[in-house]
Symmetry: C2
Subunit: 84 residues, 2 copies
């Protein structure tokens, strides 16, 4: 079974986000006033696995080992079976 | 009126995505086999504007001028009024 996987990675609450601050400052320089700027990264891929549970376990493993830094990141995994 | 704004930025179809290729290769080195890897960036902020239409126009302007590179990026704007 093929699954569409989406991992949503954001910084934990309280972590400084220099990318977001830079965007907010640059927008201000152009005359746009915005607040509470934040950035989120999404990684999407297709995974072949027997069951959705196994797929979720494997993706969680990937997050812990490579995709995220569990010390500073929160992550959210979304798995949808592909329709053929 | 305050609006929650979310801009979803992805590379146009056909553009090479070196970040995604690197992730896919690194996952393969760890023994995870995934396909069709892609990355998406999300920028969120809060905007004060009179109407949703005006807010959307202003955010579209920001995308064209700063947030995106219209030559290589597709972007999607989502605007939701904040409930107080």
């Amino acid at each position: 079974m093929r699954y569409d996987v989406q991992v949503k990675i954001s910084l934990k609450k309280g972590m400084l986000n220099p990318e977001a601050s830079t965007i907010e400052r640059a927008l201000a320089l152009l005359g746009y006033e915005v607040q509470d700027t934040d950035t989120i990264d999404i990684i999407k891929f297709v995974l072949d696995e027997d069951t959705e549970e196994k797929a979720r376990e494997e993706v969680d493993d990937m997050c812990q080992r490579l995709l995220c830094n569990p010390v500073i990141h929160d992550y959210e995994i979304e798995i949808n079976p592909q329709e053929d």
